[in-house]
């Protein structure tokens, strides 16, 4: 496994008059009444690897936005530790925290969080201005970023003169201006129309391919999560119910709650051939299929093929196992596995 960038250990966030004391009471006796307190995040353990894209999914009020704000210390946590590249961020002084944000972090917000009095160019250059970079360097960099998100020619516009999708592009450009290692996106597409959302997701996947970043992406939309994620953490009432790859979540939901979510999902679109691969007993016969293809992609082949077991190959073409055709057909037809 590669190196861990962000690590959470027993992270809790409680809102209320005296959160620390309340957390201690809860630790001593979990049955303590929580009237007057909100347990937004409860005892979350999470490790995020370098270059990984983690989607945190949950309904509104499940604590996902609070969790991502704990990771960037926009809010201080009540219990546990958040470590970024080996450093406990709760111990950072204000200036060290500001420095960390200036060098390493970018964030995109649900309602864009653009500064209304600044032009698009000045908005994108804002983080660079905070770092104290001179005008021409920061404008050059901001122009580059705007070109990257496809807003060339709109530099002199003000945020209110742009559509929602364009505003979020500005938000994305701004968050990328300092070349962050860690990229937080808090429901970036939730405020957009469905068609624009789809377009922005494609755009996002394109950017993700261009940049090699650790990404924490928040959403309440399960389809979006399945579409984008390397790993999904599903939250409910402040806890992480399950944190796994999309295939595993769809094939093996850990709890009733997650099973309910996955019930409506067309599994064939999510499950990839690789996750159905079993150890081969004998030699593989015939042509292999790529592990990264979804069952839906393979539908024609699965119906037409006569083989009992279809060999699966990884990206280098090496055979990693075989897929039972009957099992794959069950997934395709949506029958219980």
């Amino acid at each position: 496994m590669s190196e861990t960038v962000i690590s959470c250990l027993g992270v809790s966030k409680i809102f209320g008059p005296d959160p620390v004391a309340h957390l201690a009471r809860l630790k001593a006796d979990p049955q303590t009444s929580s009237v007057g307190y909100v347990q937004a995040v409860r005892d979350v353990d999470l490790d995020i690897q370098r270059g990984e894209m983690l989607v945190v999914m949950g309904l509104s009020g499940s604590g996902k936005s609070t969790l991502v704000r704990c990771l960037s210390r926009l809010i201080d946590i009540t219990g546990g530790t958040v470590t970024i590249e080996g450093q406990d961020i709760a111990t950072l002084s204000e200036s060290a925290l500001i420095d960390l944000r200036r060098r390493k972090m970018g964030m995109v917000f649900q309602s864009f969080g653009l500064l209304p009095h600044r032009t698009v160019l000045d908005n994108v250059a804002f983080p660079l201005e905070m770092r104290g970079q001179d005008r021409s360097t920061r404008y050059a960099r901001a122009r580059e970023m705007l070109e990257l998100v496809g807003l060339k020619g709109r530099e002199a516009y003000f945020p209110r003169e742009l559509s929602g999708g364009q505003q979020q592009r500005v938000g994305i450009a701004r968050s990328l201006a300092i070349e962050p290692d860690i990229w937080f996106l808090d429901e970036p597409f939730s405020a957009l129309d469905p068609l624009i959302r789809r377009e922005m997701q494609d755009e996002f996947l394109r950017l993700k391919g261009l940049l090699n970043k650790t990404i924490i992406f928040i959403t309440h939309d399960f389809d979006e999560a399945l579409r984008l994620a390397d790993r999904i953490a599903i939250m409910k009432d402040g806890r992480i119910e399950q944190c796994d790859t999309p295939d595993q979540i769809v094939l093996h939901p850990a709890t009733e709650y997650i099973a309910k979510f996955t019930a409506e999902i067309d599994r064939a679109r999510v499950v990839r051939a690789g996750s159905l691969a079993r150890q081969l007993s004998g030699a593989a016969e015939g042509e292999a299929v790529a592990a990264t293809r979804t069952i839906r992609d393979l539908a024609r082949l699965l119906v037409a093929d006569r083989r009992e077991v279809i060999p699966i190959a990884d990206t280098e073409g090496k055979i990693i196992g075989g897929m039972n055709r009957q099992e794959a057909l069950d997934v395709l037809l949506g029958e219980a596995t």
Binding site: I98, L114, P116, H117, T119, M130, R131, Y157, F158
Partner: protein, 644 residues
Amino acid sequence: MTSPAARGIGMAGLLFALALCLALGKLILPEGLIRPPEWLVQPFADWINAAFYFLQNDLGLMSLTRAFSDVVEWLLDVTANLLYGKSRWPNIGPIPWIVIAVTAFMAGYALKGWRLAALSGGTFVWIALMGQWKWAMETLSVIVVAAPFSVFLGLLMGVLAWRSPRFERVLNPILNIAQSLPHFAYMIPVVVFIGVGPKAGAIVTIIFSVPPMIRMTLLGLKKVPEEVIEAGKMAGSTRWQLLTRVRIPTARSEILIGVNQVIMQCLAMVVLASFIGMPGLGQKLLQLLQSLKIGLSVEIGVTIVLLAVTLDRLSKAWALRLPEHGAPSAQWLQRNRLLVIWISLCAAGFVLAQLVPYLHEVERRQALSVAGPIDAAMDQVIRLIAPVTAWLRWFLITWVLIPMRDAYLWLPFTAVLALLAAVGWAVGGMRSALICLAYFGLIAMSGWWDRAMITVYMVSISVLIAALIGLPVGIWAACNPTRAARILLICDTAQTFPSFIYLIPVIMLFGVNDVAVVAAVVVFAAVPIVRYTIEGLCNVPPELVEAAEMSGANRRQTLWHVQLPMALPTMLVGANQSVMFSLFMVIIAAFIGTQDLGQEMQRALSSTDVGKGLVLGFAVAFMGLMTDHLISRWSDDRKRALGV
């Protein structure tokens, strides 16, 4: 099930019955229950005087205020020199009027377009041609100095209050009282510390206009969306960067609305500061009104109104202007086209003014005047409608005003207190009852009960008449969106006029007596009622009206059962403002002859009796605060019940 409200009504009923008994049984009541007895009246005025004496002489506050006022005076001299050529440093003024008119024109054009340009340019041309340049510039020079001071102080205190909730908690009640103290109450301490004259006028203007700026700054800073702040933090801003580059610029609109309010408050105060020897339009108007020169005072009145509307529109246009992108690659000349035009027009103005002295300064004998025709026309009109006004005056005085005043004065003070407690209890339970008792109890203890009752009578009759006029007008206007917009515009404009202006027409029509005062207050107080009635009715959700119509309600039923109940909380806000406005107006109107608190305040002003002046001021403020408490409480309860 007995709800707390039902129990509240029960207790309120008891208190009301008590009030009724006290009133009916007046003949057998001991004297001590009819008027506040000697032992109850406290010498508040002496205490305040002692405190002021201490501040002034023993604490050395005098030198501090003198230092501050010297700075203000120096700035006043500079602007006075520039605007009307007072012989002080830098001795380069006066700037020709044509240059100032051109500047106003360009400012209007840059902020909004041709119409505002015509209004603001035209205002200054009118002032110059009518020969009122010097007075108007005297007034304006104070605003030019006072407004930036207020804006700066207000911004500073607003930021401090935002930073420290404790400071906000201390500041809030002070602001509440400050905003309900009548104008004159501010003047007396200033006269004690600074004396009379332009300097004192400027300082009282600064103090008077700070509170709205603090409020708007605080409001703006609190309204900045959380995500914008988080975006600032994630960009790695320090606290200072966050304040100066994220929070304050994002709160721009609210802060600029605050600037607009500061300017309007300044104008209102500068006009009134003529009572403490502030030269300018206000003083001229005061002199003319006192000698009943109607035509000339109308001319000045028009100038003040034009100036008010211009300043209001300019600053509002600035506040509401949304940023717009220009062509990115434009040349410097193209981007700053308006600036270049302005500079060249000013240069041309200077040159022209050298060649044609008329464009530099309009001499008194060159000035136009419409006073003669106005006087003649007014005489005609007055002769024509004199029977009506005379009858109205007679009817109001003999059948309404005097009986009402006598009734208010006849009431035992204990009956009034019991009645107020009953109202308080009905609206907000024991707490509100106690608040009402406390405010009016203090008024009783101040020893000015009779005067206060006269003020209460003037305010209540005026607000009543204002509501009788304002509600139907508001309902009529709200029927149709274009009409609503037009009437709202009129209300907006009327609200920018300094209150003093309203006295001109009523003196013209009714002469100098109670009817004139009531008429002025009625007009002034009807404006907020009309305005909030329209706003309340227009903001009723259309689905509700549609639902009522689909249930077969006719227009009257829809209005009565759906629109009015939904609009009530907003309309109550209007009623609240209306009471506040009429309190202020009654006090200002004192100089045309009433026997209420205002008249005593004028006396305190002329004898610079701080204690008495502040006691009277607080008495007025307490009436306002009590009404404010009752109405806001009621309105909040209604809002909660309606779930809006």
